[in-house]
């Protein structure tokens, strides 16, 4: 997609313009440049009416305090902003580590914001990074941030999606084929003679989660006597995994699945804690368990955990490379880099 189309995606009545100056704001609001400056720096000095008028014009023109920012930038900031979904997930800290290592080789640093699967916090970090005129933004998006990122780009800050493919191809992205990963996981469970499979994950509006589920469904539907149920969780955490495990423990044996595909390794770890610590359900004899991400801790688990491996550090490194190239040459067409996930078989999906 060309730059012109991207700009049409931008919100607001006018395409924000990187050259909008404080003077444009003053002219349009019918006030002096000094008044605009006071609104930005010392609003108490200005009448509420003028404040409201200036802020409305700023919004309309998409003006941000470029002048100040430009002075701080010394050309361009040497910082890359990275917004992750969950800073407590070792997958994301591994991605961040890969990004930091690659950034360091270009004398850039990475600052991290944790959206914690919250759209407001996500928007807050994007605003902040824009104000700081970062070199570029890496983001594993939670909400629909397409138009926000388009606006960012139109103001000279490139963005690359991490762990998420750009559905409309508007942005470069580095991800793993989650549908293929979900299919791999479910097929492995089916191959080891499991038929009543439960998928534990959520929220389902996280793309990674719905893609993994979609892949699992495809695999299950190709086997006539196999079924798939969904244990929907409110977050991909150890705690939510434990809750899912407790829910399974509360069922009668014949109502339980014979395999669980957890949407990530944190959920799988929580499930394992609940099942193994309780002692009445054996993994893998009663319930086989597979996770996703293959974090460091998966292999050290009480029952070593089968998982779908993502090349997490490589994802981070590659994303930084794409970002730097786009910062250097904004005319580059967006590229989608998709890595293939790998099945890692350990004891948790051994024979029943």
């Amino acid at each position: 997609m060309g730059r012109g189309e991207t700009q049409r995606d931008a919100e607001g009545p006018r395409v924000p313009n990187t050259t909008t100056s404080i003077r444009d704001v003053a002219v349009r609001a019918g006030v002096s440049v000094g008044t605009v400056s006071n609104v930005l720096n010392n609003p108490a000095k200005v009448s509420p009416k003028s404040v409201a008028r200036v802020l409305a014009v700023i919004e309309e023109l998409g003006y941000i305090r470029n002048d100040a920012a430009r002075q701080l930038r010394a050309g361009r900031s040497t910082t890359i902003g990275l917004v992750v979904l969950d800073v407590r997930n070792p997958f994301f800290t591994d991605v961040a580590r890969g990004a930091e290592d690659e950034a360091a080789t270009h004398s850039l640093s990475v600052i991290l914001g944790n959206s914690d699967e919250n759209s407001e916090r996500e928007a807050g970090y994007l605003d902040l990074f824009e104000e700081q005129r970062v070199h570029g933004v890496l983001i594993s998006p939670y909400g629909d941030v397409g138009s926000r990122l388009a606006r960012l780009r139109s103001r000279g800050t490139p963005a690359v999606l991490v762990d998420r493919i750009s559905a409309d191809g508007a942005f470069s992205s580095v991800s793993v084929d989650d549908v293929a990963g979900g299919r791999l996981a479910a097929r492995h469970l089916l191959d080891t003679e499991r038929r009543r499979i439960a998928f534990a994950g959520g929220p389902l509006d996280i793309r990674q989660v719905s893609d993994r589920l979609m892949g699992a469904r495809a695999a299950v539907e190709s086997v006539p006597d196999a079924t798939l149920e969904v244990l929907e969780l409110s977050a991909l955490t150890v705690l939510e995994g434990r809750r899912a495990g407790e829910a399974l423990l509360a069922r009668t044996a014949e109502d339980r699945p014979d395999a669980v595909f957890a949407a990530n390794d944190l959920v799988a770890t929580g499930l394992l804690q609940a099942l193994v610590m309780h002692g009445s359900i054996r993994v893998p004899a009663d319930i086989a368990l597979i996770g996703f991400d293959d974090i460091d801790f998966a292999s050290a688990a009480v029952v070593p955990l089968s998982s779908i491996r993502q090349p997490s550090q490589l994802i981070g490194r590659t994303a930084v490379q794409l970002l730097i190239e786009e910062a250097r040459d904004p005319t580059l067409a967006p590229r989608q880099v998709v890595f293939q996930p790998e099945l890692v078989v350990r004891a948790s999906t051994g024979p029943s």
């Binding site: 305090r65 990475v110 600052i111 944790n114 050290a300």
Partner: protein
């Protein structure tokens, strides 16, 4: 020094304020000679582009910078999470920098946060960086130490009593009949590590006379370093194996466990008891569920943020040291072998 202005720079360099501004903004129309003179004056005066920053301040003061030692350690992720929860209540966003136990990266993040005029800095420092933090404070950016006691009381800090934690861990090993303790950890210029060892030594000295402690030094507190240390221990003649290992954190302990379990022998806890520190979420789900010293990680983060905001609002506050007590969590890895 904090009051150094662009005018002072111009005066010392013998150029106009406009020229200094042009140098700062990398406009081309300045002679090489002037650029050099201005840069020398800037360096001499310790001038920073506060004017520009001040203009941005309205936008960035709702930000707190958090510098952590190891972003990949779940303990720090959990501390950060606690700080974030408290921050969002106050409409503040946290920017995270990972030093990865590297002084150069630590300096870089502090410079960055200063340039961005953050409301304040939370930091789990690598080495002693008090002078740099003093400098930040003189420029109206308060700092609070996290997971580190401020030895000289110059800064507020929020931490657990690591000496006590080390003592409790070693006492637990001694009480469960262990006599030859290895302390695995490092680098020792990390205060957390040396404090935990100091506490362990106190317990050993107070214990029965046949109890001894040795140190197996690591270059970092990571799973990989734990695996390597475990291999080194197993590489000795069996009679020289310790009967207990106290790992300076859970990542090391999980690495040690991988090495010990990977040997195929039933080593933990039968031959070697193992205890870690931090009680991260994975400790309880480890191959042999891991005993550990629990830190109230989220509370540490939330408390540090509250203290920081108070200091940002009132720079005259006297530094406060908040010290939490660690708790012993006993699991299978230190079970008593009769």
């Amino acid at each position: 020094m904090a009051a150094t202005s662009i005018r002072d720079v111009a005066k010392l360099a013998g150029v106009s304020v406009g020229t200094v501004s042009n140098v700062l903004n990398r406009h081309g129309e300045v002679s090489a000679d002037s650029v050099m003179r201005v840069q020398r004056a800037i360096e001499q005066l310790g001038y920073r582009r506060n004017d520009a920053a001040r203009q941005l301040r309205a936008g960035t003061s709702s930000t707190v910078g958090f510098v952590v030692l190891d972003g990949q350690n779940p303990f720090f992720s959990s501390v950060v999470r606690g700080a974030e929860d408290e921050a969002s209540k106050n409409g503040i966003a946290i920017l995270l920098g990972n030093t990865d136990e590297d002084s150069a990266r630590e300096r870089m993040y502090l410079d960055l946060f200063e340039e961005q005029r953050v409301r304040g800095v939370l930091i789990s420092p690598y080495r002693d960086i008090s002078p740099r933090l003093e400098q930040l404070r003189s420029r109206n950016i308060p700092a609070v130490l996290v997971d580190r006691f401020s030895g000289d009381g110059r800064f507020s800090s929020v931490s657990v009593d690591n000496v006590l934690g080390g003592r409790m861990a070693a006492e637990h090993l001694i009480q469960t009949g262990r006599r030859r303790i290895s302390f695995v950890g490092g680098p020792f210029d990390l205060r957390q590590v040396s404090d935990r060892l100091a506490g362990a030594r106190v317990a050993v000295e107070a214990g029965p006379h046949e109890v001894g402690i040795e140190v197996v030094a690591t270059s970092a507190l990571t799973v990989e370093e734990g695996i390597a240390a475990g291999m080194r221990i197993l590489g000795r003649p069996e009679r020289e194996w310790p009967d207990a290992v106290f790992a300076a954190n859970d990542l090391l302990a999980l690495g040690l466990l991988q090495a010990f379990v990977g040997s195929g022998l039933l080593l933990v806890p039968q031959r070697i008891a193992l205890i870690g520190f931090d009680d991260i979420a994975f400790a309880g789900a480890a191959a042999v569920p891991l005993s550990s010293m629990r830190q109230p990680s989220r509370t540490i983060g939330a408390t540090a943020l509250r203290v920081l905001l108070e200091e940002a609002d009132d720079p005259t506050l006297i530094p406060r040291q908040t010290v939490f007590q660690p708790g012993l969590v006993v699991r299978e890895s230190t079970r008593t072998i009769s």
